[in-house]
C-alpha cells in the first residue's frame, strides 16, 4: 500500500464527491491534527463508518457537524431543512461516506476490486474511539463554508 498515493486518491475523491454532487468549495487543512479538529467548537459531530476489504482491509469514517449535514441534505434533496427526517439526514451522510470510499479506491487503483460494506452511523459520543496514533491511519480535515469536515481511512495491520 502506497500511503502518498492513497492520500492523493482520498483528496481527489473528496473533491469529486463534495464538489460534483454538493457544489461545495473545499480547502484541505493538512496542518490540523485529528484530536484538535473540532476543539473550541460546540457543534455536534455526526460520523459514519464503512468497513472494506480487498488488496488491503480496514475502515473509513466521514465526520460532519450536524448543522452542516442538515443544510447539505436540504440542498441535496431540494427541500427545506425544517421538513427533513433523521432518516434523510442519516441517509445523506452514509451516502457521502459510501461515495468517497468507493471513489478513493477507484482513484487509487482501478484494476483492484475492493468490497465495501454498508455504512453505519456511529454514536456521537463514541467517534473519537476511532482516533488512533497508528501509521496505518490517514486523517484528512476539510474546511467548507466555515465548517470542518473530515475523512479518515484506517488500514488493518
Amino acid at each position: 500500500m502506497k500511503k502518498e498515493s492513497l492520500i492523493t486518491a482520498m483528496k481527489n475523491s473528496i473533491s469529486n464527491v463534495l464538489e460534483t454532487m454538493f457544489f461545495l468549495p473545499l480547502v484541505f487543512s493538512d496542518d490540523v491534527h485529528k484530536k484538535d479538529c473540532w476543539s473550541g467548537k460546540t457543534d455536534q459531530i455526526m460520523a459514519a463508518r464503512l468497513d472494506f476489504d480487498g488488496p488491503f482491509s480496514g475502515y473509513c469514517v466521514f465526520y460532519i457537524p450536524k448543522k452542516f449535514a442538515l443544510s447539505m441534505t436540504a440542498d441535496f434533496m431540494g427541500r427545506d431543512a425544517e421538513g427533513l427526517s433523521d432518516a434523510q439526514i442519516n441517509g445523506t451522510i452514509m451516502e457521502i461516506t459510501n461515495m468517497i470510499a468507493g471513489n478513493t479506491f477507484s482513484f487509487y487503483d482501478e484494476q483492484a476490486v475492493f468490497n465495501l460494506n454498508f455504512p453505519k452511523l456511529l454514536r456521537t459520543d463514541a467517534f473519537q474511539e476511532f482516533f488512533t496514533d497508528s501509521d496505518n491511519e490517514i486523517f484528512i480535515a476539510i474546511d467548507s463554508l466555515e465548517n470542518r469536515l473530515a475523512f479518515q481511512l484506517a488500514i488493518n495491520p
Binding site: M77, Q88, G102, F105, L116
Partner: protein, 142 residues
C-alpha cells in the same frame, strides 16, 4: 411517450436526487417506482409494467448485481433495460455488470448532464424500441 421507471437504492436521499435529476433532464416519466433493495424491486417488477430500471450496486439484502441476474433470468423481465449506479469503478466490476446484462452504468458522483446523456443513449437503442413494439403498447409512437 412516457415511461415507467424503477429506481432501486437503499438510500432515500439518493432515490430522491435521481428522481429530481431525471425530471429536470426532460425525460418523460409516466410514473416513478421506488425500491430499497433487489427483493423489493423484484416484487414491483412482477406487478408493474416497467420500461427502465436504475439500480444501485451496493445494497443490503439483494444487491444490484443479484437483481440484474434475476431480471436477466426471467423471460418476462429480461428485455427491460437495466442501468447500474455505483461508486465502484474497478474495471473488473464494470466488466461484470456488462457480462450480467447491464445496458450501461452510472458512476457516483454524477452530474445531471451525465444522467441525461445515458438515458438518451438508452432510449435510442434499437433493441429497446423493438421490445416496446413487441409488447404492443399502442400509446408508444415508434
Amino acid at each position: 411517450m412516457a415511461y415507467n421507471v424503477l429506481i432501486v437504492d437503499d438510500s432515500i436521499p439518493m432515490r430522491g436526487i435521481i428522481k429530481k435529476i431525471i425530471k429536470a433532464s426532460g425525460f418523460n416519466v409516466k410514473h416513478f417506482f421506488e425500491a430499497a433493495d433487489g427483493n423489493e424491486a423484484l416484487k414491483i417488477l412482477n406487478e408493474e409494467w416497467l420500461d427502465l430500471v436504475l439500480t444501485d450496486y451496493n445494497m443490503p439484502g439483494m444487491n444490484g448485481l443479484e437483481l440484474l441476474d434475476e431480471i436477466k433470468k426471467s423471460d418476462t423481465l429480461k428485455s427491460i433495460p437495466v442501468v447500474v449506479i455505483t461508486t465502484e469503478g474497478s474495471k473488473q466490476r464494470l466488466v461484470e455488470f456488462f457480462e450480467k446484462g447491464a445496458m450501461d452504468y452510472i458512476k457516483k458522483p454524477f452530474t445531471p448532464e451525465e444522467i441525461k446523456e445515458k438515458l438518451n443513449l438508452i432510449m435510442g437503442e434499437p433493441q429497446y424500441e423493438e421490445r416496446i413494439l413487441d409488447n404492443g403498447d399502442e400509446e408508444l409512437d415508434f
